[in-house]
Amino acid sequence: MSLHAPAARDVASACHSDRGGLLTAFLLFLALQLAGGALAETSGLPVPGMIFGLALLFVILVLRDAWLGTHRAVPSGLDVAAKGLHDHLGLLFVPAGAGIINHLGPLATEGPALLSAVVVSTLLTVGLTGRIVASLQRRSAARHADIAASGRL
């Protein structure tokens, strides 16, 4: 993706009048998506660029707080843009998901066994992982309560 000079000027002037900060937010997300992709390529790690981009944005938010002396502050434009994307996250899977029509062949032969394995193992994983978090949390909460109680005594 190459930004020609006039386009870059348009973006800059649009940002100038970008009161809600939405355009700036999207510009930042997209720039970090690009930077993350470049990092993934040069690092050779089998982690997709978007995850590097996520980490970069997190670091930027940490540094911004440190710079401004604020605590967990996020510019409202970033907040609104992120919420917009996450409210309809499900939409973004539709183009790739429709690719199912290309794979109906392998599904026909091995499908029933594989799909049963997927459904059962996924649901077991969800249920067991959820229980692990809930019970470990209860245990550590109980321990903290004990410590607090013994501290009072």
Partner: protein, 234 residues
């Protein structure tokens, strides 16, 4: 029927209809809007004999926003960082357990049901988000296209039925619910978790991102070791 506008009209149209069906059903997870919209688009492509590649060229914009949305996950993650850091040990333990269970249970069950070796290699990485699972599949000798399909099936399973399983297991804490759904069923599960609450969605996004990295780290060496020790040529 070519072109960006027609692909986008089809994609957005299917999703808007699916989303309103879901809303009108009282947000019933069984009527998962992603699943309904995929079914709608797939049916239209088959009916009008449009190759998926042609449609996808036009719908690329929507697909690419997926990466943007993942980058944007840093925002809710940052806002709930204190909550997540306070539970870091619990979440780390659950992440390792969940990542291992997702891959191991899938491979064992498919093996018991008589799947071929290439199908077993294709199912192993399927709880990681599609970009990662396909990459791992190719690396370990699976079929990336089959992995893509199993990854989507995994996401839809977690999104449609995960809430019921967590209810039955008595898991009420939104952080625990979201994290479990994100680890097991990546982004499609995360989209569902955001429907439950922002905390659940954020925890799911964290689970998805961490499990994508963890799966990429441990599945390829383990499979290589298993195949090596089993005397099967990779």
């Amino acid at each position: 029927v070519n072109g960006t506008a027609s692909s986008l009209v089809l994609t957005l149209g299917a999703y808007v209809v699916a989303h309103s069906l879901w809303s009108r059903s009282g947000r019933n997870p069984l009527l998962n809007p992603t699943m309904l919209a995929i079914a709608g688009v797939a049916a239209a492509l088959l009916a009008f004999r449009i190759p998926h590649a042609d449609y996808f060229t036009g719908a690329r914009l929507v697909h690419d926003l997926l990466g943007t949305a993942v980058v944007a996950l840093a925002v809710p993650l940052y806002r709930s960082a204190s909550l997540l850091r306070a539970r870091a040990t619990v979440l780390a333990a659950a992440l390792v357990a969940g990542s291992v269970m997702a891959a191991a249970l899938g491979v064992v069950l498919a093996g018991v049901l008589g799947s071929t070796e290439s199908a077993l290699l294709s199912i192993a990485p399927r709880s990681a988000t599609a970009a990662v699972s396909m990459e791992i599949s190719a690396r370990i000798g699976g079929l990336p296209a089959l992995t893509a399909l199993l990854t989507i099936a995994t996401g839809i399973t977690g999104a449609m039925l995960g809430s019921f399983v967590l209810d039955a297991a008595g898991v009420r804490d939104p952080l625990a619910r979201g994290f479990a759904i994100g680890i097991a069923s990546h982004g499609i599960g995360t989209a569902r978790a955001f429907q439950e609450s922002e905390v659940a969605g954020t925890a799911a996004g964290l689970g998805m991102a961490l499990n994508a990295m963890l799966t990429a780290l441990w599945v390829p060496p383990l499979v290589k070791w298993l195949l090596g020790s089993g005397g099967v040529a990779p």
